[in-house]
């Protein structure tokens, strides 16, 4: 089962994911995560609200999760989005997808 925590500090929405983000688990959280990002970023990217995905405790990601990341970066803008604490395997997953730079994966 997937858990996730959403916290907002000043203008940064921090999303901490825990567990296995396979297709099933991701589908259960996709809508609410996307809704929170939409609420946080609003329609104006100029206000520069930031979104950070912390995936330190994630051991697997499905392509469905990568799609959430793509939507998030489209909403927040490249300079305001980052994925942090990726394991080497998940770093490689974003690399193979060709999205590690676009999504600021570290």
């Amino acid at each position: 089962m997937i858990n996730y925590n959403l916290n907002t500090h000043s203008n940064t929405l921090s999303c901490q994911f825990i567990g296995r983000l396979d297709t099933n688990n991701t589908s259960k959280i996709a809508e609410s995560v996307e809704e929170k990002i939409k609420d946080h970023t609003g329609d104006d990217q100029n206000t520069a609200p930031k979104v950070v995905f912390d995936i330190e405790q994630v051991d697997y990601i499905a392509s469905a999760f990568i799609r959430i990341c793509i939507k998030a970066v489209q909403k927040a803008g490249k300079i305001n989005f980052a994925i942090i604490n990726a394991s080497p395997m998940i770093k490689k997953t974003f690399k193979i997808a060709g999205l590690d730079e676009e999504l600021n994966v570290s």
């Binding site: 297709t23 697997y60 499905a62 392509s63 990568i66 997953t93 974003f94 193979i96 997808a97 060709g98």
Partner: protein, 476 residues
């Protein structure tokens, strides 16, 4: 951006996402997916065979069921215990550890002659190696191919496979196929099809595993068990009305046994054409301008072909036998014909028979398959060494023998490599082991002989080769 490029990019984006996810799966996860697909394909073997025969009008549905069984049950048996994830081999003495990595998205091109079975085969070996697969189906077999893909994809997802791990091109064209073949995100094309298609795959700039055309000569040696040989030849050449590219194309016999061979073929309802009938068949069965088989006869029964050619063959005819005096473009029936038609050569002696086999082998079938029926080991080996064929099938029905798993221990495969003669990279029966990148971890194992030798001797121009080598190998 053209719409073709846009659609190709979208397809490849999905495949790339699937590849990224796939490489996280372990061996157990992967094997579970493969088992689920095998069972789903096997369960639907009859439905898919009937669909394929009805849609294409090619072959015999009962035989296509057997093809589907071979493509699922035997292919699964062949690959199920194979290690394809992580460490696949450890040699502690040599200090080498081999690790398997997936290739990435694979483009699977499917022939109209064996559509559902080839898809089942290519999906199983691709999933076993954690590679997403994009299927390109022939236009006249699209519905049965789509159904096969849908069944396999549902089974894969149910077992936890990545989304979009199996896709099919919905509205393909030659240009679209070439766009996918050359796409920068594609890892490999698995091309089973005509020469032009395979050549396009190899010319795309991406890696490809293709197959070559067959033109399988069958030598029946004096030492052969003639009734046994004829029974096996008919079993293979009539299977699915001769649509397997490894099936027999020409029968070559020495004069000393022609009576016995003819009598046996005739007793099993194979019809020998006279000169005029052979001419009629040539005109109908082979396209004059191209020198290749008429697509209309592919996978059709012998009686259908005889009727269309204006030949009055008996109703129970199983194979049309065309006696020929030579090989090459002047003798149109000496080329590959995927239907129950066999060229038939009577040769003065063994050497002449072998030379006819060489001519046939090099007439469009180089590197594919050759067959000998004999009980003389010397002749079997002489034939095997002189033929240029990836598979020399001995005392075995050729189609079923070359595919492997039924009559021998070759890997079961629906993609038969033909080596450089067929413009292929390998002569092997293609299977899962060709669909991984093998990386080698090399532990330090000092070559003491090298390091104990005085390296200055190599640098010294005055040192002779014999002196250096005798010193280097001294006491070894």
């Amino acid at each position: 951006m053209s719409s073709i490029q846009g659609v190709a990019d979208e397809l490849m984006f999905k495949a790339t996402m699937a590849a990224a996810e796939f490489q996280q799966l372990n061996q157990a996860d992967t094997d579970n997916i493969v088992e689920n697909i095998f069972k789903a394909g096997f369960t639907n073997r009859v439905k898919l065979a009937k669909m394929a025969q009805e849609e294409t009008g090619i072959g015999v549905w009962q035989h296509k069921v057997i093809k589907n069984v071979v493509a699922t049950q035997l292919v699964y048996e062949n690959i199920k215990n194979e290690k394809t994830v992580g460490i696949i081999k450890e040699d502690t003495i040599r200090g080498i550890v081999e690790i398997a990595q997936p290739l990435g998205p694979i483009f699977a091109i499917i022939p109209i002659t064996n559509p559902t079975s080839t898809i089942l085969f290519k999906i199983l070996i691709s999933m076993k190696t954690r590679n997403p697969v994009i299927v390109s189906a022939p236009r006249h077999a699209f519905n049965c191919c789509k159904e096969t893909v849908d069944i396999c994809y549902a089974a894969a997802l149910a077992a936890g496979a990545p989304e979009d791990c199996i896709q099919i091109i919905e509205h393909g064209s030659r240009e679209f196929t070439h766009t996918i073949m050359a796409h920068h995100n594609l890892a490999l094309t698995l091309a089973t099809g005509g020469t032009g298609l395979v050549h396009a795959a190899y010319s795309s700039g991406n890696p490809a595993i293709g197959v070559g055309p067959g033109n399988v000569p069958v030598l029946i040696d004096e030492s052969a068990d003639i009734p046994f040989a004829i029974e096996n030849i008919i079993l293979s050449k009539t299977f699915d009305n001769g649509t397997i590219c490894a099936s027999e194309q020409s029968i070559i016999v020495e004069k000393t046994i022609t009576n016995a061979v003819r009598k046996e073929f005739e007793s099993q309802h194979c019809y020998f054409l006279d000169e005029a009938e052979t001419k009629k068949l040539e005109e109908y069965a082979v396209l004059k301008d191209k020198g290749t088989m008429n697509p209309e006869i592919v996978g059709k029964p012998a009686t259908f072909i005889a009727e269309r050619a204006g030949i009055n063959a008996p109703e129970n005819t199983r194979i049309l036998m065309a006696p020929l005096n030579g090989v090459g473009l002047k003798y149109p029936l000496s080329v590959e014909i995927l239907a129950p038609v066999l060229a038939y050569y009577e040769c003065d002696n063994y050497k002449s028979a072998i030379k006819t086999c060489i001519d046939l082998n090099f007439l469009g079938g180089i590197g594919h398959t050759a067959v000998i029926y004999a009980n003389n080991e010397t002749r079997i080996m002489e034939f095997s060494e002189i033929m240029n064929a990836g598979r020399i099938v001995v005392n075995t029905p050729s189609g079923q023998g070359a595919v492997g798993g039924l009559f021998n221990t070759l890997p079961t495969s629906f993609t038969l490599g033909c080596g450089t003669g067929g413009k292929n990279i390998t002569t092997e029966n293609i299977s899962a082991h060709q669909l991984i990148n093998v990386q080698r971890v090399c532990r330090r194992k000092i070559n003491t002989q090298w390091f104990q030798f005085d390296q200055a001797k190599y640098i010294d121009e005055n040192q002779g080769t014999d002196d250096i080598l005798s010193e280097y190998y001294k006491n070894y």
